[in-house]
Amino acid sequence: MIKGKVFRYGDNVDTDVIIPARYLNTASENELACHCMEDIDADFVTNVNAGDIIVAGDNFGCGSSREHAPIAIKASGVSLVIANSFARIFYRNSINIGLPILECPAAVDAIKAGDTVSCDLAGGIIVNETTGERFEAEPFPEFIRGIIADGGLLKHIERRLK
């Protein structure tokens, strides 16, 4: 069960603000985490705690294909990103590296910055512990659930190729 404090952002949060290109000269997860969300929320790295949740509007993760973006978010301790919609490359990247994401416009509408939210990922049930509201996210297609269950795309492929 996931539970954490909410960081709230708007529409079209692009991968350049999630992890600016000036930090892309490394593939180190911990280094990337140190600059997560730097150009949209300079205090994010100081304020985030393990388990916290990002809630955002439309088209989260648009722009560059840099996998460094979901890697930085995951390594910063964030346990889940909830948005109205995700840009398609970010969506694939998150599934592939095992960063939990959910599309749930009703939850996005209702959840505010600083709320405490819990989530049962398997059932896609999101609960705003601050207000008591309960939301249901769109379930993933079965094929994608398979990738998630295997622990990411490469583990899934390893199983297939063995």
């Binding site: 350049d16 290109a21 892309l24 560059s64 294909s65 840099r66 490359i89 990411g152 795309l153």
Partner: protein, 422 residues
């Protein structure tokens, strides 16, 4: 059941007679691409994997273009990781300084991608090759790694939006104005998860470079791919270049589209995307007075020979404004050499511009022209997000090479007519 052009290419590569929107398929790839930023992440994953063998080394391309020539020690390390990996795994299509160019200009030029191909690249602008009648899309490093391991990739078959292009664009209106106009209509997520299929009698008036520019920015509307039909312009470009046989796919007449836009190319005006989203488009009459500090002419969007010719047409016999740093970046060595042969290099230098080696450089705020606090650039690149080219208070105005060159001369955002008629 009928199919779009994109769906036909996916079906053929999945070994299926038919596919429909929403279907999940596994398809064989013709080319898998990464660069000096996304490559090291893919290689790191590859090395963690218990089944570490490359399926088809000849179907992989690694291009050192983003931070190359190496901008710092860490970037040098990233290129080294790619270089060592290419060497160890027999990857011939490894492009380093001297052979490299900006990946999406280089791969078509080298004949590594062409009509009918299915291509993935760990770079969002991989959608560029749709200009050649290929299904081509950007992915992340892990998908790229999986492509190297298996020669395949999973896809959710996209639905499509049709853009019917009519008429002939006026002088000074080019591919960049067309795609910015379209993104202004759709918004930055208007084509999310979908194909953008371009068609209509206006297509024949678009050069292959215009088509590259248009498909390149399909991702800026959120699209999975952009694609043009294959015609004589395409085949003329591929001839003597493409290393395989072009395969021509065409959409069925009764293919289903979620939406159709009809665009009269003859009515379009020079168009610029204002900060901080590519959808914030304005035509020349509503630009106002925007004083600028820098002009960039280059990138995978507009660093090809016709882009440099357009810039030179404006800059010939003129000087760039004193306070405008004008940086011209030929996308590949072939483009660079051609610019020298045609006398364009001399025009640029006489105008007070500088010519860089091929690199993505400033487009993503890497190097070769980073903006300071509150500075403004007119740039032929593809994104104007917050902090994209430097400080988070800096601004990027996305424009065609004509507009960028004209702005360099006046020192403020300007249409080419303003300079030429002066």
């Amino acid at each position: 059941m009928s199919m779009t052009m994109s769906q036909k290419i996916l079906a053929a590569h999945a070994g299926l007679e038919k596919v429909c929107a929403g279907q999940l398929i596994n398809a064989k790839l013709d080319m898998v691409l990464a660069n000096d930023i996304t490559g090291p992440v893919a290689i790191k994953e590859f090395e963690k994997c218990r089944v570490s063998r490359i399926a088809y080394p000849d179907k992989i391309a690694l291009v050192m273009d983003h931070f190359a020539p190496n901008k710092d020690i860490k970037s040098a390390g990233q290129c080294k990781v790619c270089r060592d990996f290419a060497e160890a795994n027999g990857i011939e299509n490894f492009f380093d300084v001297g052979r490299m160019g900006i990946e999406h200009a280089l791969l078509p030029e080298q004949g590594l991608v062409g009509a009918g191909d299915l291509v993935i690249g760990a770079d969002s602008h991989t959608c560029t090759y749709g200009a050649l009648g290929a299904f081509s899309t950007g992915v992340g490093s892990t998908d790229m790694c999986a492509g190297m391991l298996t020669g395949e990739c999973w896809f959710k078959v996209p639905s499509a939006i049709k853009f019917i292009l009519r008429g002939k664009p006026e002088k000074y209106v080019c591919g960049k104005d067309i795609i910015l106009h379209i993104i202004g209509l759709t918004g930055v997520d208007g084509a999310l998860y979908k194909s953008m299929e371009f068609t209509g009698d206006g297509v024949k008036h678009l050069s292959i470079d215009d088509r590259f520019t248009i498909c390149n920015m399909a991702i800026e509307a959120g699209a999975k791919n952009g694609i043009f039909p294959v015609d004589d312009v395409t085949l003329g470009y591929l001839k003597g270049r493409f290393k395989r046989k072009p395969i021509i796919y065409a959409a069925d007449n009764d293919a289903e589209y979620e939406k159709a836009y009809e665009i009269d190319l003859s009515s379009l005006k020079p168009t610029v995307a204002f900060p901080h989203l590519p959808e914030n488009t304005k035509t020349k009459d509503s630009w106002g007075s925007i004083k600028i500090d820098q002009v960039i002419i280059g990138s995978c969007t507009n660093g090809r020979i016709s882009d440099l010719r357009a810039a030179a047409e404006i800059l010939k016999g003129r000087k760039v404004a004193k306070h405008v740093r004008t940086i011209i970046i030929p996308a590949t060595n072939e483009v660079y050499l051609q610019a020298i042969h045609e006398g364009l290099a001399e025009i640029f230098i006489n105008a007070g511009a500088v010519i860089s080696t091929p690199t993505c450089g400033p487009c993503l705020g890497g190097h070769m022209g980073i903006l300071a606090e509150n500075e403004r650039a007119v740039s032929t690149t593809n994104r104007n997000f917050v902090g994209r080219m430097g400080h988070i208070t800096s601004e990027v105005y996305l424009a065609s090479p004509y507009v960028a060159a004209a702005s360099a001369v006046t020192g403020r955002l300007s249409s080419p007519e303003e300079v030429v008629n002066d």
